[in-house]
Every structure is written in structure tokens, then in C-alpha cells.
Symmetry: C2
Subunit: 309 residues, 2 copies
């Protein structure tokens, strides 16, 4: 099967909300009047973001999920995606499984695949661009946090990072391979949260992005950070590393006025996602992790940086 | 210099026509009311689309050019781009040169870089998504050719393919490394051409895409295909292979009513690009290359297929 046949068989689905999908020089859209568009792109590379031989279906899921997570962190409703695939071989079975994982998540969130590119590459490489819509003026920017805001996080952190060290823990492995983008929560936080980011580089690093862009500081009470039950049995240093520096959880970290606590809780309940208040935004520029008594927690950590290692 | 510093130094430019550019979870756009959006994505991989050690500035140019060429083939005006880069190392000098080539072309066509992703990859990998705008209903679809249409091509074909065989020919090498997307011509062909495609896979293969999508056939007079002067001295079989199967020229092939010949010539003159009439669309489904007398030219060729070799 050649490139064109592979694409046609597995990826060429007639678009519904787009004017033109896969198969021409470009995809064509007619944006809805008055809405803004959010756009994001992420590249996943074999040996870097996943191991050679990783399950194709989970890769199809995850490569779209990390992009939908970026849309969720803006409060955008996912609409369309473009997929560039570098494949070591024209392996129809692999493509079929990848497509199954991709489309299962896409359909759950109303995402249409409208374009892409397929090429041969010695290393499996997946690059997706996702596009979402939202009403004008309500997007959740990293730069909008203010001193006094509560800091919230969805779900639990640390599971994906733990899976990299302890792949035998099924619960952690599932977090790494099948992240769940917090799309509904992101949409419900529009006009409610003040700023948001998704945890892809680790809580410390991602919170630092908010702090830097918003020109504020932040204090987080370490014990409040929600974590999987298995963390109780972990070495304290490993737990801390996973919770503060572990990427790949794709939970949302967001800030909101203390007066909106009940509304945040209601939004999270509607979205079916737990949220936990872990700290507050402060004046200044320091990012501090403290224990129950306010004493500094050892945080000699760095966030995940693709070029550090 | 780490990932965030590299991005900030070379790619983080304040957007003008976008609401939000590089540095948040997503870029944000407010589309112009009544316009349609054209979106395209292309991935370039080291060892496949360019040699290891290829000039960084020309890669910055070419990786954007191939995407702008897709926009031109729809008749869209380029507006925005997202860039995903997989880099073997955080090489600031390389990134600086790449950015110089990228932005020189981007600025010439009014393209804003609004987002991206940088990661480490053992193989240099470049994946760009480009977005253009155009008035509703005038995009040049592959599926709109009709029997009786003239077939036109811009510029000259075969140069890029020749460079792969004979890299010492400077004129050909320049065509391969510094393709010029026919952006202005594409915009001027709106409402004038009936269908269009850019020549990325070879004339035969790309014309076959139009024929297939439009459910028509085509006949091309081989000697009319415009080619660089150096082709006069080439072996006939090599010339034929480069002209019919050679990709990477990024010229436009388009069809238009014979009654619009003067208008096509005027549009091309305004855009400063030569165009040549090379054949016509026919009923049926055959794609034929003929000599001056209508006899079939040996065309035992295949278009470039990323998975054939």
C-alpha cells in the first residue's frame, strides 16, 4: 500500500464542519462569526517522548491528547486537527491502530481531522496541530494571574512521571500512555478562572510560566498537591520529584479569585473532574513550595527541559 | 541555552495580526469576518527531504516555502504559521540561521509565526502548519477541472529533480534549496483558474491528482513543458524523468477556460511569473503525454511516492 492509499484508507474522512478536508492542497474552514480561534502544535518523537515499539493505539490517543490539553488550558472547544506523520515504513496495521486511537479521542471531543502530511522517516515522528474555538475575550491566558488568586489543579499529578521510573505500576502507566485532556473543565473555566496552563513540563516549571508571564510569585502547600494513592508508599525524594518536576500529566493548573471557590467547585463537578486548591498567587516573583507550617520544602528540582539532558 | 531561551531569542516576536503569539498554551486569532481559512501542514525530515548538514538558512526558507506553496495552490493569502522543530542539539547558531531564512520569507509574504514546539530529536525534523485567508467561495480546488480547460504551469519544471542527480549545476541546486512559492500568482488566479495544485510530487503525479479528483483526463504536449536552458544538453530519458516525475519545483499547475487566456496572461504578468499553456483537460480518465504530432511520449514513470522506495 503506498502513501496515498494509506491516507485514503485510514485518514480520509468527509468533514462535517469544515468546507474541505484531507486530499487537496489545503483544508478549508469557514470560522464562526464572532468566535476566536486557538491554535497549538506539538511534536512527539520516538525515543524521546515514547519508546520504540510503543503501542500504536495509545500513540494515536496521546499525540492528539497533548494538543487538546493545550486547547483546554485556553478554555477553547476543540474543533479541527492536522496530522503530520513520519513513518519508518508503510505499515498498514500500525497506521490502522494509530488511527483507531486518534479517532476514538477525536470523536469524543468533536474534532475533525482536516489535513496532514505523511512521509517516511527512520524515526517515528508525530506532529499535530489542533484548532479550537471560543467566544471573544474569554480565553485563559498565562499572563492574567493576580496576587491573591487561589491556585487550583485538576485531577492528580505525578503519575506519568512515576511510570517512567516504575513502569510496573499499572495505574501510573495508564496516566503516561492515556492522558485525559481536561477539555470540558477548560471550557467551563472561561470567565471563571483568571489564568491557566496545562501541566506538561511539571508543576514547578508550568507554574513558573504563569508567574513569569503574569509578573507574580506563587506559594504552593506541598502536601495539598493531589497524587495517586500509590505515592503513600514512595520514597519522599522520588515523590517530590514526580510531583514537582514530573511532566506529562496534562492536568490543568489555574488561578481564580477566592470569591469564586464555590463556582470553581461547581464547574469541576459539572465537568466530572476533581479539583484541588493547592496555594495562592503572591506579589513578587518567587515560586515557593512550603509544608503545613509554611516552612520551605526542599525543591532542588528543575522542570522538564527538552535540552537539559 | 535551554529550550525556552532558544525560543525566546529567535522565535518569540510580538504578533501584529494575531491576538496572542508564541509563549502561551495556544496562539489566538480573530478571523476576519466573511473570509475562509486555508490550512496546510508539511513535515521535512533529515535524510529524506534534505541531507544531514544542509544549510540552516535554506532549510528555514524551504520548510516555510513548501507550505506557502500549498496556500498558493488554493489561492489563499498567507497569514500565520506554527513551527514544530525536532533538533539534535540546542545549537544557537543553527537556530539563528534557520530563523533568518524562515523570517526573511515570512516577512516577504506577511506571515506571522504565532506558535510552535521545540524538542530534541536525533534527526532534524521540521513540521510547519501554515494558515491563509481568502474570500468565501473562490478557493482553487483540485476537484473543479472540466473537460476543455487549458492546462497551465508557472515558471519551469525539472530543476529541483535535476539537482538531486547533478548537484554541481548551480541553477538547478538553487531551485531545490530555495523554491519560490507562487503566492501572488495564486491570489491572482482566484475566480480565474478553475482548479490548481502545486508541483511537489512531479507533474505527472500532481496532474493525476487533479484528474482523479475532477473525474477527468488530461493530455499534455511534452515539448511545451517549460524547463531550464540546461535541459537542452541532457540525456532525453533523464530530462523526461525530471520533467514528469521530478518533485520539489513548487510551481503551480492550474486549469482555466480557453476564453480566459488573455486574463491568465495578464494575471501572470502582474505577479511577475511566466506561465505556459501545456495541454488541456479531456473527458475520460487517462493522463497522456504526447509529442507535437500527438503520438504518445514514453512515460514509464511514477510520481514521487514517499513509500515506494
Amino acid at each position: 500500500m503506498n502513501e496515498f492509499e494509506l491516507i485514503r484508507r485510514y485518514f480520509d474522512r468527509a468533514p462535517d464542519r469544515a468546507l474541505l478536508g484531507v486530499g487537496d492542497d489545503c483544508a478549508m474552514l469557514r470560522p464562526n462569526a464572532g468566535l476566536e480561534l486557538a491554535l497549538t502544535t506539538d511534536m512527539l518523537v520516538e525515543g524521546r517522548h515514547f519508546a520504540a515499539g510503543a503501542d500504536a493505539r495509545s500513540l494515536g490517543h496521546k499525540s492528539l491528547a497533548v494538543n487538546l490539553s493545550d486547547l483546554a488550558a485556553m478554555g477553547a472547544a476543540p474543533r479541527w486537527a492536522l496530522l503530520a506523520l513520519g513513518l519508518p515504513a508503510a505499515d498498514a496495521k500500525w497506521v490502522e491502530q494509530f488511527a483507531a486511537g486518534f479517532f476514538a479521542l477525536a470523536e469524543r471531543h468533536g474534532v475533525e481531522l482536516i489535513g496532514g502530511d505523511t512521509t517516511r522517516s527512520p524515526l517515528l515522528t508525530i506532529s499535530i496541530t489542533a484548532i479550537g474555538e471560543l467566544p471573544a475575550g474569554v480565553a485563559l491566558y498565562r499572563s492574567a494571574a493576580q496576587a491573591g488568586d487561589d491556585i487550583w489543579v485538576s485531577g492528580e499529578l505525578g503519575g506519568a512521571a512515576l511510570a517512567l521510573r516504575r513502569p510496573e505500576i499499572a495505574e501510573a502507566k495508564r496516566r503516561l500512555d492515556w492522558p485525559e485532556p481536561r477539555v470540558e473543565l477548560g471550557e467551563r473555566l472561561r470567565g471563571l478562572a483568571r489564568s491557566a496552563i496545562d501541566v506538561s513540563d511539571g508543576l514547578a516549571g508550568d507554574l513558573a510560566h504563569i508567574a513569569e508571564r503574569s509578573r507574580v510569585g506563587a506559594v504552593v502547600e506541598y502536601e495539598r498537591i493531589p497524587r495517586p494513592a500509590v505515592f503513600k508508599s514512595l520514597d519522599a525524594a522520588l515523590a517530590r520529584e514526580c510531583l514537582l518536576s514530573g511532566g506529562d500529566d496534562y492536568e490543568l493548573v489555574f488561578t481564580a479569585l477566592p470569591s469564586r471557590r464555590d463556582a470553581v467547585a461547581a464547574a469541576a463537578a459539572s465537568a466530572g473532574v476533581a479539583v484541588t486548591r493547592i496555594g495562592r498567587i503572591e506579589a513578587g516573583s518567587a515560586l515557593r513550595f512550603v509544608d503545613r507550617d509554611g516552612a520551605a520544602v526542599d525543591s532542588a528540582f528543575a522542570s522538564f527541559d527538552h535540552f537539559l539532558s
